[in-house]
């Protein structure tokens, strides 16, 4: 019998339709991957199972969970169901935990709410749940606070909370999106193990086709509130019927066309760069320590080349970016663009700076919400000694907007009128406007949906060819780096541990860390002859 069966579920919030005739089902012990871009209704489908919907939401259709009709349940009955029958894992482990409570207390709370047990008993079971989530008591006592744990460990606490009562359905909403790739692999393995051990049904919601393809038994693909296509993973991936699914698959493994061949001349040269940060003294009498964020880093970027820089959070890649941009002075080593140092006499060198620009990850935080687009993208003109005025300025703005596929009229709009992908185009226009030679892309496509990401990658490749740009492409996403870079640097704990031609480094990684990264990256393999996981397990 299907544990969760959703039949023709429609939902609207204040008259605005969100979901339309969504039907799907999950069996106990199986994982259902729900895939869609932002706004496709995948999270709303999951939330309607818990009936944790925004105010003014109205559902119609049927949701049946282990024989119970969820849509007819009263609020007290729903409260009993949430947490006991359905556990949920959220995307952001930083905000899903209360920073003022110990992890033990937070896991025990779920138990205390639903069962009449003593506090000691609840804590004993919380310890058990944490152990099952691979946080053993000897290394991670329950008296720890969330801030004492890493992102992956916090996500394990959230998972422990979700599985403490052995729910029949586990909803994981983008559980690994905020995590590094190696942590992601561990968390996914943990989820899979728990599903098998407890015979839970699991709804795994993700925007990442590769993650879901590795994990799930069945897949549902959603778009604008509707189910587009559904079926077992292997069959669905090898025999996609719907054009949207095909487009999604194509976008996930998209490789933009690039023609430009790097010339031999070096554009940026980084030699022996060291960047130390002061860390607060430990205790009143303690000494001010230093943290070496970038440790003896040297590399070159050749003119016209696209160089990748991969590494996990905290490895020093952002610090290195800031140093290259001349935002922070380095403690040792030199950074030269076209043979000129970025810093001269403790001051950033304007002549050098005007040859490089940057595009940031967050399309929402990158723009002052109070300025119009024309003012936003013309900001780098400040670097020129003689910036264009009047008509010449308007021309330059129009040209920059048009080169990224927007229209000159968009200059009069405010930034909130644009979608995430359009904003990222505007960010690129801002970088292009002073015609730099080097553009640093700091996770520039990481926050975008796959199809938008593919478009932006195409745009970057096209601009690179047309304008002869050089890119430094910083990302944690190996598949993106693989698709757009010529050479790659792998960074770990402030050092470059491996570098070489992208294809070679990823196919035959030599350093242990690179091997680990490559192994952990979810890979989308569409092979008809893949064996069926269910048969193997049965």
């Amino acid at each position: 019998m299907t544990l969760l069966q959703i039949d023709r579920l429609s939902m609207e919030v204040g008259g605005l339709p969100i979901l339309h005739n969504v039907s799907l089902g999950v069996d106990a012990g199986r994982i259902l991957g729900v895939i869609g871009e932002s706004g496709s209704g995948k999270s709303m489908t999951a939330l309607s199972v818990m009936q944790l919907l925004p105010d003014g939401a109205r559902c119609s259709g049927r949701i049946s969970l282990a024989g119970q009709e969820v849509l007819t349940l009263s609020e007290p009955a729903l409260c009993k169901m949430r947490g006991r029958d359905v556990g949920m894992v959220f995307q952001e482990p930083m905000t899903a935990l209360n920073p003022l409570q110990t992890i033990g207390a937070q896991v025990a709370e779920t138990i205390l709410i639903h069962e009449r047990v003593t506090r000691a008993e609840a804590l004993r079971r919380a310890a058990e749940a944490l152990r099952r989530a691979e946080l053993p008591q000897d290394r991670f006592p329950m008296s720890r606070y969330p801030h004492e744990l890493s992102g992956g460990q916090r996500q394990r606490v959230v998972i422990a909370m979700a599985i403490a009562l052995r729910p029949r359905l586990l909803i994981a909403d983008e559980p690994t999106t905020a995590l590094d790739v190696t942590t992601q692999a561990e968390i996914l393995k943990l989820l899979k193990r728990l599903v098998v051990e407890d015979g839970m049904a699991c709804m795994l919601i993700s925007h990442d086709l590769a993650v879901v393809a590795d994990m799930a038994d069945d897949i549902v693909i959603m778009r604008s509130g509707e189910v587009v296509e559904t079926g077992p993973v292997d069959r669905l991936l090898s025999h996609m019927r719907h054009p949207y699914s095909k487009a999604l698959l194509a976008a996930s493994s998209h490789v933009p066309d690039r023609a430009a061949q790097p010339r031999e001349a070096s554009l940026l040269s980084v030699r022996g760069v060291v960047r130390d940060y002061a860390i607060p003294r430990s205790g009143f009498w303690g000494r001010v320590g230093t943290f070496r964020a970038v440790n003896d880093v040297s590399f070159d970027i050749r003119r016209g080349e696209s160089l990748g820089l991969v590494g996990e959070s905290g490895c020093g890649k952002s610090t290195l970016t800031r140093a290259i941009l001349g935002l922070e002075e380095v403690q040792a080593g030199t950074i030269k663009l076209n043979g000129q140092p970025v810093f001269t006499g403790h001051r950033p060198n304007r002549d050098v700076r005007r040859h490089m620009q940057v595009v940031f990850q967050d399309p929402y935080g990158s723009f002052n919400p109070r300025h119009r687009v024309d003012r936003l993208i013309s900001e780098p003109f400040h670097l020129l000694d003689d910036p264009p005025q009047g008509a010449a300025r308007a021309d330059a703005i129009a040209q920059a907007l048009e080169s990224v596929g927007l229209s000159a009229d968009d200059g009069r709009k405010f930034i909130h009128e644009f979608s995430g992908g359009q904003r990222q185009r505007i960010a690129i226009a801002r970088a292009l406007i002073i015609r730099p030679e080097l553009i640093i892309l700091d996770e520039a496509v990481s926050a975008l949906d796959v199809q938008v990401r593919a478009q932006i990658l195409d745009l970057l490749a096209d601009l690179g060819d047309r304008l002869g740009l050089t890119y430094l492409f910083i990302s944690h996403d190996l598949s993106v780096v693989r698709s757009i870079t010529d050479r790659v640097l792998v960074m770990q704990a402030g050092r470059i541990v491996e570098h070489g031609v992208t294809q070679e480094v990823f196919d035959v990684p030599r350093h242990a860390y690179t091997q680990q990264l490559v192994a952990a990256a979810p890979r989308l393999t569409v092979e008809p002859e893949r064996t069926n996981d269910d048969d193997a397990r049965a």
Binding site: L16, S366, P369, L376, H382, L383, F414
Partner: protein
């Protein structure tokens, strides 16, 4: 999203309209009093003293037979002028200090500014006001200075905390990549984005300034007779409260409604000034 936008517009109008109406009412009365009041506030009419509201005196008369409506109108002028200038002093000095402290976070400048703020905060404001007026004499100008000084750390702290979170934004980083200096970034990117906070705090400080002025006048350290002031009207009526409650009620209501109106208007303005909530007509 649409629903939320609709709700927000409703709530912002719900507080903005009555708030602005109340504020305009008192501001209008203050302006009008420059040209015309029902009676001269200096004209004593002992025959008609302590009269309850009549057609001739809509809010009654006080113990000297002066028209209370006229006095409240002129008193509004005193209150608003004192509070406005005091907020102006607080913003004019506090905001640049806060911006500078945030731009050089953790530096000696930051420490000096913020510890200086703490120092001002450490003194009870009314005591300092009394001290200032004791040294320099009781007058409206000294009341303004006393209230204004205590507005400085409020605005400095608020600006600094708002600015600190803005300095971590990517658009500030983008401006730094464009070679802009701290002063320019503060003016172009930080200040416009803390105005929401400043406007809300400004209206709150404005209403607190009116209360403070009333308090100082009540103890006789604010505007001196014959300049009418709401606080001194309250003080004068105190001994006659059982005999002539209207003498206390009307200035009291004036203080209450002005403060309420300013607070409501501050809330409404904050929502209205946010461009993210501005309807774009696409």
């Amino acid at each position: 999203m649409m629903l939320r936008a609709g709700l927000t517009i409703m709530t912002q109008l719900r507080s903005l309209v009555p708030g602005a109406a109340l504020t305009l009412l008192f501001a209008g009365a203050a302006v009008l009093s420059l040209f015309w009041t029902p009676y001269e506030i200096t004209s004593l009419d002992i025959a008609n003293k302590i009269k309850t509201p009549t057609l001739a005196h809509p809010l009654g008369t006080d113990h000297f037979g002066r028209d209370i409506l006229s006095m409240i109108m002129v008193g509004a002028r005193t209150s608003i002028a004192v509070a406005l200038v005091a907020v102006g002093i607080g913003m004019g000095v506090g905001v640049p200090l806060g911006l500078a402290a945030a731009a050089r976070e953790g530096s000696l400048l930051d420490e000096v500014i913020m510890r200086g703020n703490d120092l001002v905060f450490a003194f009870p404001s009314l005591l300092i006001a009394i001290m200032i007026t004791a040294v320099f004499g009781a007058s409206a100008v000294n009341a303004i200075i006393a209230i204004g000084i205590f507005n400085i750390p409020v605005f400095a702290r608020l600006t600094r905390s708002g600015a600190l979170s803005l300095w971590t934004q990517d658009y500030v980083l983008a401006a730094r990549v464009a070679g802009k200096g701290a002063a320019r970034i503060s003016a172009e990117h930080i200040l416009p984005n803390v105005t929401n906070l400043l406007i809300v705090q400004g209206t709150i400080q404005f209403s607190l300034g009116i209360l403070a002025e009333a308090g100082l006048s009540y103890v006789g350290l604010g505007a001196q007779p014959p300049t009418p002031s709401w606080g001194r009207m309250l003080a004068d009526s105190q001994t006659m409260i059982s005999l002539a409650p209207h003498m206390a009620i009307f200035p009291g209501m004036a203080i209450l409604l002005t403060v309420l109106g300013l607070n409501l208007m501050g809330d409404g303005l904050r929502d209205l000034l946010d461009p993210r909530l501005r309807r774009t007509g696409r």
